[in-house]
């Protein structure tokens, strides 16, 4: 089995290196095909591993030593267990599909080969992240995906906004990574190891405050990657990257790494339910917060990004409440339909020549029939309509909140579900229905390549069946590792009322969205100039706030540090000392006027001074020795 583990892990790396060989040369579809092929290999290996794990085994290998110093011993160790295999499946499926899709999507791009190199490198990093058997190995992947995300967001590096967004994403993630490092430090100095099995078996012996700190710091780390408030602004800006990237990294896999971390560290979070509650509350807040921003946005990709953010909030609610398997399940289901949504958006963008404003589209149903079907499917899944994936995963989280008696969280999440449905279908309606507004702009949309649609098809299938088919086997598998808690509302009446009520609420939201946007778009100037609209449209003014509060002061402070402190204080002090000496020389050089008789006089003065010193020292010395005697 180890060989499959290595294949699953290193096939993407091979693909990346292969593509990198051609990075500087003109486009060759070979790179795309080879990279996709290798990813498919990885996927097949993952499936084999899944089967193996389903049978109740786990694979644990230690490839080689990485860092060993003092008592610290960190190997490159990989583990395939019930949790990581789920992530592996998600990553390999989505990435294989995205790779194949990208062959078409990036068809006309100069950086075609480079793109595949980055994308496969990302998959490798993600695999390291999920498969590692220790915290630092996870951190490798953690930073690796950060790097690839930076590369891919800034893929079109000639665009100022893209590079800016890339840097923003990287730096924000770094802030969180620091917290994560600190968390790792605490673990090491208290337990003496970073291996999951050792840490989790000994964590209960630690004093409560330390566990709490570990939990908090690790979660801050997770917040960065999963773009939770207040580190969320990068995710929306990250949409500057190519759309397949958004699908893979900023929807399906990387951003869910935070959730994965919390799930993986469940023995720690189990001991600190207070922190869990905080996580859940923050998750609920983010779910709502992001959904509201998605309501009014006019950028197709940003809307989906906010939706991702919102769904991540859901996952954190589940994880925070101790329903780790639910969180992971939603992670999986969400990966499928959100990736699908993004890929569909990619098709639309292609057709619309990179136009992102849905208000300039409309009526694309006809020329882009399959895209329409797939995107609608994904949106339905996202909205959580029975029997699609979202229903099983998302509504389960609602149930969790209810069962755990966090009614406030429950109501927030319920409201958010409505909002989700609304903005998803607002988007679908604006794009695919109504007037063909794009004709004014002289664009004649066309459907994407067939193989791109074929590539998307499996995701469509998964979005439909993932919930229904996978739930039971999934539950049975992961509960080997994760706490097996069934969340059932025991009162049947309540259960049905809730389920049907939620469904109706969501359907109503969908209907409202269609009604408002499917026919003709009326721009209500009054609403748009209103405070609330502006607040939401400007993302609660948070990016501006950050700019004013952090970026600008930092820039100013840096300038100040350089121009004022470094040059005018520190360096000037040094030069000042040198100048004093130099000036003394300048002043006293009149002493050396070359006149020998005055030199002789100076000599005698020197002699007198020396004599005085001699006397002074002798007297002083005698005084000291006298006292000593």
């Amino acid at each position: 089995m180890e060989i499959y583990l290595y294949i699953a892990l290193f096939a993407p790396l091979t693909g990346s290196l292969f593509a990198a060989l051609f990075a500087a040369s003109p486009k060759t579809s070979v790179t795309g095909i080879v990279a996709s092929g290798l990813l498919f290999t990885s996927f097949v290996s993952s499936v084999i591993l899944l089967n193996y794990v389903m049978a109740g085994h786990t694979v644990h290998v230690e490839m080689m030593t990485w860092i060993a110093s003092g008592d610290l011993y960190i190997p490159f160790g990989f583990v395939v267990d019930q949790v990581s295999v789920v992530m592996m499946m998600v990553v390999s499926i989505v990435s294989t599909i995205v790779h194949i899709y990208s062959i078409g999507y990036m068809d006309h791009d100069k950086g075609f080969n480079r793109f595949f190199s980055y994308l496969s490198a990302f998959v490798f990093s993600m695999m390291v992240l999920v498969m590692s058997d220790n915290f630092l190995g996870l951190f490798i992947g953690w930073e690796g995906v950060g790097l690839c995300s930076w590369l891919l967001i800034g893929f079109w590096y000639h665009k100022e906004s893209a590079t800016w967004a890339a840097n923003e994403a990287f730096i924000m993630n770094r802030i969180a990574d620091l917290a994560m490092l600190i968390g790792i430090f605490i673990i090491y100095w208290n337990i003496g190891s970073l291996q999951y099995d050792v840490v989790f078996s000994q964590i209960a012996n630690l004093p409560m405050p330390i566990i709490t700190w570990i939990g908090i710091f690790l979660f801050i780390g997770a917040m960065g990657k999963s773009a939770q408030f207040p580190l969320h602004t990068w995710l929306a800006d990250a949409m500057e990257g190519p759309t397949p990237v958004s699908a893979l990294i900023h929807a399906a896999t990387m951003v869910t790494a935070g959730v994965y971390l919390v799930v993986r560290a469940n023995p720690i979070y189990d001991l600190i339910p207070e922190v869990g509650t905080v996580i859940a509350s923050l998750g609920a807040f983010v779910a709502m917060f992001a959904a509201t921003m998605a309501l009014v946005n006019r950028d197709m990709k940003r809307i989906i990004a906010y939706s991702t953010l919102s769904q991540l909030g859901y996952m954190f609610v589940a994880a925070g409440l101790g329903a780790y398997w639910v969180a992971l399940f939603h992670l999986m289901a969400h990966a499928f339909f959100k990736a699908l949504l993004f890929l569909g958006a990619g098709n639309v963008m292609h057709a619309m020549h990179d136009e992102l404003d849905p208000f300039k589209m409309g009526g694309l149903k006809k020329p882009m029939k399959w895209t329409w079907i797939l995107m609608t499917l994904a949106s339905v899944a996202l909205a959580g309509i029975y029997p699609l994936a979202g229903f099983f995963s998302k509504d389960l989280i609602l149930e969790v909140a209810f069962v755990e008696q966090h009614y406030i969280l429950y109501s927030v999440l319920l409201a958010t579900a409505g909002l989700t449905a609304f903005y998803s279908f607002r988007l679908v309606a604006l794009i695919f229905h109504g007037d063909e507004r794009h004709l004014e702009h002289g664009i004649h949309p066309h459907e994407a390549y067939n193989f791109m649609l074929y590539a998307m098809a499996p995701l469509g299938v998964l979005a439909v069946i993932a919930g229904m088919v996978f739930k039971t086997p999934y539950y049975e598998m992961v509960t080997h590792l994760l706490p097996a808690i069934e969340y059932h509302i025991h009162n049947h009446t309540t259960f049905w009322i809730m389920t049907i009520g939620t469904q109706l609420f969501v359907i109503a939201a969908i209907a409202y969205a269609y009604k408002k946007y499917a026919k003709a778009v009326k721009v209500d100037a009054k609403v748009e100039s209103g405070f609330l609209y502006q607040l939401l449209y400007n993302q609660y003014y948070i990016p501006k706030l950050y700019d004013e509060l952090f970026s600008k002061p930092y820039r100013e402070l840096s300038k100040l540090a350089w121009k004022q402190i470094d040059l005018k204080i520190v360096d000037a002090t040094v030069d000042g000392i040198a100048n004093v000496i130099y000036r003394t020389g300048e002043k006293t050089h009149t002493m050396q006027n070359g006149n020998l008789s005055s030199m002789l006089r100076w000599m005698v003065i020197g002699l007198v001074v020396l004599l005085v010193l001699a006397i002074a020292f002798t007297v002083g010395y005698n005084a000291v020795t006298m006292r000593a005697m």
Binding site: Q592, G594, N595, L596
Partner: protein, 101 residues
């Protein structure tokens, strides 16, 4: 009343001071040489006195070497003076300003 080492040393320092005054006062190089001879002799007295009162010949030895140095100094110094006189026609200290910093 007895003559002690201190007497000699005081005498020596008084002579030394006279020599110093001479060194500072004189501008004529030849006169300056005289003053340096006084300085050397002053120290010689001190050395001889210490040698006597401490029953140690080292002091005398020092004085002896100092005399030797004084002699060589005069020889070389006068030679230099002559060269200088040939070049400038003067042996005045104030004209030697080539060491101006």
């Amino acid at each position: 009343m007895e003559i002690t080492l201190a007497h000699y040393l005081v005498l020596s320092s008084v002579l030394f001071a006279i020599g110093l005054i001479g060194v500072m006062r004189r501008k004529n190089l030849l006169m300056l040489f005289f003053a340096t001879e006084i300085l050397l002799n002053a120290t010689n007295i001190g050395f001889a006195a210490i040698a006597h009162f401490h029953n140690d010949l080292t002091g005398q030895m020092f004085a002896f070497f100092i005399i030797a140095i004084a002699a060589s100094e005069v020889a070389v110094g006068l030679g230099l003076l002559i060269v200088m006189y040939k070049r400038t026609g003067k042996i005045d200290l104030d004209i030697m300003t080539s060491m101006r910093g």
